[in-house]
């Protein structure tokens, strides 16, 4: 008996008990569906995290002031006022693993344009900042090195600020007031989208850091330095070089604590990726348990089915079915059940993960169904059928034809 014929016989047998076959397959449908949708949540989270880090730039390093300890009392990060714009310049010039640096300061200020006003975050950065952070200017231009050198009163608006002050009006070339000081708008940044959490990356104004220090804040130290390494695999080296250089520049004695801190974005990104991977595995394995339960359901029903059809098995044996034929028949029934369940489960799972996007708590994960998870779920369900169908099928094939024929 070939496979095609066997499958036809299996379909016929399953068709005689449609409701039962469906309920049995339902276990697999739910199992496969759960695996696919859970993994899609995990994948979505992973992708979200990756996108967020990519939009920041993965070859990025942050230099921030360290924690200061005064007579045993730690101030927390940022306690030092020792980070100077010159440090940034020195890093860019002397560390060969570093491409660009951009000193950063930030504050909040009230901004006014015409009869509208808005309170927003003011970021003081270098001219290279958009390149380091992968930012794009939507209209106009970013400020240049010259503006930084002269502490020019120019600014670039985040899309949210532009919307609040100008609405649909063209902002480029207009003058706004930040803390009553007039600033010319050079450009508007492209929206970076919701980053998640409380911080809106579009609700800010970027000015040259020199301007922010001198005109808005009146201080001579900076909050942090954004550093772009030459490439992603040079970030470790860049970190080491920066640490060495800054210890030297800040005259820190060997063995003494740093007054700064260098953080490496790649490490942070990898950590986050690892966390989401663990989440995916966790979700997937919990969902696999339901697939296992579905498999046990198949075994259960197949055992019932074998007992019910002992007489049929006897008849088939009498007309010449060999052990192999009977084994194959029942095994095929189990596999057909699980594979049909698997196929329906794939649709169910894909549908579910599309639906999950609209559920508030899951929407931030932006579920992504991967071909891998579909293939895996399908293969898994087919092997569940073979595994759990084998015992009942073997039991059927080992029956004695005389006893099977006499069975009432």
């Amino acid at each position: 008996m070939n496979l095609w014929r066997t499958s036809k016989v299996a379909f016929r047998a399953l068709g005689r008990n449609k409701m039962r076959s469906f309920l049995t397959a339902l276990g697999i449908i739910i199992g496969v569906g759960a695996v696919i949708s859970m993994v899609s949540i995990g994948e979505g989270a992973k992708r979200g995290v990756q996108e967020r880090f990519n939009s920041m730039g993965t070859n990025l390093l942050f230099v921030s002031p360290g924690s200061r300890s005064m007579r045993g009392v730690h101030s927390g990060f940022g306690g030092f006022n020792t980070l100077k714009p010159e440090d940034a310049e020195a890093i860019e010039q002397q560390c060969d693993a570093v491409r660009y640096t951009s000193p950063s300061v930030n504050t909040r200020a009230q901004v006014v344009y015409g009869n509208k006003n808005w309170n927003t975050s003011i970021q003081g950065t270098g001219a290279r900042y958009p390149e380091i952070r992968n930012w794009r200017v939507e209209a106009g231009t970013f400020f240049e090195e010259g503006h930084v050198k002269s502490a020019a009163k120019v600014c670039v608006l985040g899309s949210e600020v532009k919307k609040n002050l100008f609405e649909s009006e063209d902002a480029v070339g207009q003058v706004i007031r930040i803390n009553r000081i007039p600033f010319r708008v050079l450009g508007v940044l492209e929206s970076k989208g919701e980053s998640g959490g409380w911080f809106n990356r579009d609700d800010m104004i970027v000015v040259p850091y020199t301007t922010a220090m001198k005109r808005l804040m009146g201080r001579d130290y900076i909050s942090s330095i954004d550093v772009q390494a030459v490439s992603m695999d040079k970030t470790q080296e860049a970190q080491r070089q920066i640490e060495e250089l800054l210890r030297l520049r800040h005259k820190i004695a060997p063995g003494a604590e740093d007054d700064f801190q260098v953080r490496n974005m790649t490490e942070v990104a990898e950590g986050a990726a690892e966390a989401t991977k663990i989440m995916t595995i966790l979700l997937g394995s919990i969902a696999s348990i339901s697939l296992l339960v579905g498999g046990i359901g198949i075994m259960n029903i197949m055992l019932v089915s074998v007992t019910e059809r002992i007489r049929e098995i006897g008849i088939r044996m009498a007309v010449g079915a060999r052990e192999k034929d009977i084994l194959l028949q029942f095994l095929t029934e189990a596999v057909v059940l699980s594979v049909m369940g698997g196929v329906m489960g794939i649709f169910f799972g894909v549908g579910l993960s599309k639906l999950l996007v609209h559920v508030p708590i899951f929407s931030q994960f932006r579920t992504a169904v991967s071909a891998n998870s579909i293939a895996l779920a399908f293969l898994f369900s087919a092997s569940v059928g073979i595994f759990f169908g084998f015992y009942p099928a073997r039991k059927a094939s080992r029956l004695d034809p005389i006893e099977a024929l006499r069975y009432e």
């Binding site: 008996m1 088939r316 007309v319 079915a321 060999r322």
Partner: protein, 244 residues
């Protein structure tokens, strides 16, 4: 005939039920030539069903030799016996043993499903021919449980005819049928034997049914008691009752 269809040599069958041994057959030697119509008779417990199972290759003797068309099938394993049943033997049972909720046609096709050399189209064709030969062509697409007992048994006969077997074994074929239907069934058997020269072996305990056969083998306590030929032992009044 040089080789008999069936040759039984000192067949013994012992069943073990717990500690006790049950001697179902105590040394049966017999020959059946092609084209014979034989009835095996005996009361229940005489061993006639056991003998039937062994002849039908559903069971193997404890000792002794069984040759079917010259092949010593008593040495065959389960799978080889399945092949023999498929190719050489057609069964007709007392309880019909058709697959429930399945069409007559599918039931008749069943033996061909297990012989790999027949395609789907040819299979249906052969099955329809077999159904025609028992006069049930119009019932081909009826489910078996919608049919009467007599019709079901005729379908079973059609199924037994598939694969053109060397031998048809009927185990109490009229046991569940009324007198009139029994007679129809027996007439089909008679016709198969006379017109198509089919070899038929039938187990029964009804003397009037047994008298359709050309030979009757009486079995008691696992041994052959006597053999009757033609009308021998068939009292006229019994025959008149069945065959008007």
């Amino acid at each position: 005939m040089a080789t008999p269809l069936i040759q039984l040599e000192d067949i013994v069958k012992i069943y073990r039920v717990g500690e006790t041994e049950v001697h179902a057959l105590r040394g049966i030697s017999y020959k059946v030539e092609p084209g014979e119509f034989l009835a095996i008779m005996g009361p229940s417990g005489s061993g006639k069903s056991t003998l039937m199972n062994i002849i039908g290759c559903l069971d193997r003797p404890t000792s002794g030799k069984y040759f079917l068309e010259g092949e010593e099938v008593s040495t065959f394993d389960r799978n080889k016996l399945a092949r023999v049943r498929n190719k050489k033997i057609g069964f007709v049972f007392q309880t019909f043993n058709l697959l429930p909720r399945t069409t007559a046609l599918e039931n008749v096709e069943l033996p061909l499903l297990y012989s790999s050399d027949v395609t789907g189209k040819k299979r249906t064709e052969l099955a329809l021919q077999a159904l025609e030969s028992v006069g049930l062509l119009d019932r081909a697409y009826h489910k078996t449980n919608q049919l009467s007992g007599g019709e079901q048994q005729r379908i079973a006969i059609a199924r037994a005819l598939m694969n053109s077997p060397s031998l048809i074994l009927a185990d109490e074929p009229t046991g569940n049928l009324d007198t009139k239907t029994s007679q129809e069934i027996m007439n089909i058997f008679k016709r198969l034997n006379e017109e198509k020269k089919m070899t038929l072996i039938m187990v029964t305990h009804e003397p009037d049914i047994a008298c359709f056969a050309r030979k009757r083998l009486h079995i008691r306590d696992g041994k052959i008691l006597r053999e009757e030929r033609e009308d021998e032992g068939c009292a006229d009044d019994i025959r008149r009752e069945v065959q008007p």
